[in-house]
Chain length 109, copies 2
């Protein structure tokens, strides 16, 4: 069962930062930042190294509960999308700075 | 004994976000963002609610190890300062977006 998504006005910065302060969740967010909706299975397949389904379930929940992603049931899977507009409304420039920082870190390795 | 501070090039975004994804550490960072050096005791006194010394010691370490703050011994205390230049160099716009978001959240409550 999918839990509740926080209304935009109830998103809390510390929760967003804690959610994104994890390499797997940051990688997931970079994928979702491509835009649109992504089946959770397809996102999972793009992660290196592969992550177990139970661990992924935990990460979807952290990202959903913090207000970073939408998670919508669609048949046997869920469709994930980034709550970009909500995050940009609450914290202008934050998501772009984080995504830019992640790209910069990746290009340094 | 003060541990090592990570060189600027070894700062990792996920660690910075995880460090700041905590209400106490975010409050500490907002104080240090005023600029200059602050004795750790003085910073501790400004936190609401009051935090125990052992808990504060943990938070200094998380902020130092992630590259967010300098922690320099000075007699019986430590002087804390924000590694603003290093963070701005590595992640342009990130600190400003986070500090702005924290102010916005505070003004909503």
């Amino acid at each position: 069962m999918i839990g509740q998504h926080p209304p935009t006005e109830q998103i809390v910065l510390e929760n967003v930062l804690a959610a994104l302060g994890n390499p797997i969740r940051l990688a997931i967010t970079r994928i979702l930042a491509e835009g649109g909706e992504h089946p959770c299975g397809a996102v999972g397949l793009r992660l290196e190294p592969p992550i177990s389904k139970s661990t992924l379930t935990h990460h979807w929940r952290v990202l959903r509960d913090s207000g970073v992603i939408w998670q919508q049931p669609a048949g046997r899977e869920n469709l994930l999308s980034l709550r970009r507009q909500d995050l940009d409304d609450r914290y202008p420039g934050l998501l772009d700075a984080i995504l830019g920082g992640a790209r910069a870190d990746t290009s340094r390795t």
